[in-house]
Amino acid sequence: MRNKLIDLAEQSSLKTDVPLIRQGDTVDVHCRIVEGDKERIQIFNGTVIMIKGRGINRTFTVRRIVANEGVERIFPIHSPMIEKIVVKRSGETRRAKLFYLRNRVGKATRLQDKKVRKSQETREPALAEA
């Protein structure tokens, strides 16, 4: 349904090495912060609770607790301001949107580590779509 010419226009803005992340992953997002003419890397660490959108509009939401206050940041996955995304742990989840974590505090927010089955050792890329 998508128009070829629109895809073509977006092509240049898409990353070719889309990071493989899934809901329930604990990630370090390395953001480029530009201050004046200086640039530094800031790391936002947390749990991926939502991935949505297609193509250039694909975003993911990372939730973490800062000073007892839940903080969520939404990142466009193709943004050049994201230097890299490091997956620290992968949690076992049974749903695509982990909004129930918002109602939990402390230890209850932990997710069980994903069991890696032999047949699934190569992670299926949740993001491998054009």
Partner: protein, 220 residues
């Protein structure tokens, strides 16, 4: 020749610029256009202009006058013809091709299109009027305008409404020019222009893109 071209609005998307910012852009499939006629101030036309044709059509779907007109330039009949007024005489000849390459180095463009038709619209939608109060005795006229005339309007003692009074009526489906759009990208290979912001008209409608008349080009 001033950079100008005909194209079709494809749709909107967004791209990142080199600062990592998201830019909303409209994709326009523009050209290749063909010069079908050149007018000059010395000739019988009395002014400088170039007539562009866009989208060749099968002659059996065209008319004899258009086929003959296009044949003078040695081309197929075209679906759209538009004229580009010029200040100076041009070296373009009938039959020359115009591609988006003509926009090389241009920073800002104006776009002319036909806005989406809204049908018969009331004054609140058409002219942003405030309407009438919701309560305090207002009955069945919450979206009406107020009075349109009295015996003492500045049309004299007539009781007739003023000419050009803003009233309900047909809205949209008219020529609209939006100015000073940043030209984000020129893709000569695919005949595509990426223009910042929204353009008039529905997707797939004809747009006329020209170098901006008013925008000041920065020396980047």
């Amino acid at each position: 020749m001033t950079p100008a071209i005909l194209g079709r609005k494809v749709g909107m998307t967004r791209v990142y610029n080199d600062k990592g910012q998201i830019i909303p852009v409209t994709v326009v499939q523009a050209g290749p256009c063909v010069v079908t006629q050149v007018k000059s101030a010395d000739g019988k036309d009395g002014y400088h202009a170039v007539q562009l044709g866009f989208e060749p059509v099968d002659p059996k779907h065209s008319t004899m006058p258009l086929i003959g007109h296009a044949a003078k330039a040695g081309v197929q009949p075209q679906r759209f013809f538009r004229e580009v007024r010029l200040k100076e005489p041009t070296d373009k000849k009938p039959g020359d091709q115009i591609t988006v390459g003509i926009f090389d180095g241009v920073q800002f463009v104006d776009v002319v299109g036909t806005s989406k038709g809204k049908g018969f619209a009331g004054v609140m939608k058409r002219w942003n009027f405030g309407g009438q109060p919701a309560s305090h005795g207002t009955e069945r006229k919450h979206r009406s305008r107020g009075s349109i005339a009295s015996m003492a309007t500045n049309r004299g003692h007539s009781g007739k409404p003023k000419k050009g009074l803003k009233m309900a009526g047909h809205m949209g489906d008219e020529r609209v020019t939006t100015r000073n759009h940043a030209l984000v990208r020129v893709d000569v290979e695919n005949n595509v222009l990426l223009i910042k912001g929204a353009l008039p008209g529905a997707n797939g409608s004809l747009v006329y893109v020209r170098k901006s008349i008013t925008a000041k080009e920065s020396k980047a």
